[in-house]
Point group: C3
């Protein structure tokens, strides 16, 4: 059996508007060594606290629009009990959404590809109005 | 030090009704190589966008019933702002619940067993009324 | 290329009061072998079902206070549909919060350090009024 290999890349995304965005292709293209791996896993980690990552439906953009609508209900702006308000009304909800969705994904790799289901795609979840460019750290291990 | 080993299995579950279901035993039985691993970790990944995985209380089925009740409040059917409605009233809430809970688990392995706490069990979270059979991809690495 | 190494430690935290608490330093100090790893990842796993882990803003304690306020809205005590009530009014909400946030973190390691963003810290999320001391299992793999 051959030894496990490690690969690492940074992915610096362009600025996205507030909402949920498919980035499966960007992730795959930033880790060309995926094709060398027969069995392994990829960790995608976002180095921010007001944006997050999730996996969901990759076909219909209505799903991503409804995510934005619904997370605005789950973590609304200007809740009367917020005390962390100095950075704008979109800031505290952004932190809450980021933890509800999480900062990292662990995706199995098989036969040179991400082993996701047919309808699964990777979402960048941008929770700020002007979040700037987000930095992801990709780590691949496998053999 | 011996080299890390990789093991992979698919687990195709029977159809479960909508709700939260304990599948710890099914996962363990689908990965008999667990007993070969002294230190490692198991990734459990669900290849769907309207069902999910979590870890919670393994003893009292009331907890799982209350999960179903409460997630129906957190992501209700027929919210007036949903636009993704063509696949039924249970579909968009299923996508939202799936991302709130997440598609994968990373569980440490010690001395041939999942190193979970006494009261922890693995839940399949079935968010559709008729979700069909769900496919999980199990990946074990360790030594 | 050198072989991957595995390291494992238990971290038994002191009792924390209900709320969200920064434990980045405690995690780092419990895994001194971090400094030996050029590329790898750390898994932090909590062996409980009424406390959880997340990563969020490490500077302003107001953020952590607002997390407590908001999660008390997302999973309130004494919801009329709860059936799992024998262990106290804070118990069922604790289970729900634990699954919303999750029991484990997978953090990339680079050049001897956790590769988190500048503002990211590890939170212990204590959801019980008197949760006692919580046990974390740390697993580091890398080279």
């Amino acid at each position: 059996m051959s030894e496990s290999q490690w690969y690492s890349h940074e992915l610096r995304l362009p600025e996205y508007r507030r909402g949920f965005h498919l980035i499966t292709r960007e992730v795959e293209q930033s880790m060309p060594e995926l094709r060398l791996i027969k069995i392994g896993w990829l960790n995608v980690f976002i180095q921010h606290t007001s944006a997050s990552l999730t996996i969901n439906e990759n076909a219909d953009s209505d799903v991503r629009r409804d995510f934005e609508s619904h997370f605005n209900k789950l973590a609304p702006e200007n809740a009367p009990y917020y005390t962390h308000t100095a950075e704008g009304s979109d800031d505290m909800p952004a932190h809450l959404k980021a933890s509800l969705l999480g900062p990292s994904l662990m995706i199995p790799v098989r036969d040179g590809r991400l082993a996701m289901g047919t309808w699964q795609g990777i979402y960048l979840c941008e929770h700020r109005n002007h979040g700037g460019r987000r930095k992801l750290l990709l780590t691949l291990q496998g053999q």
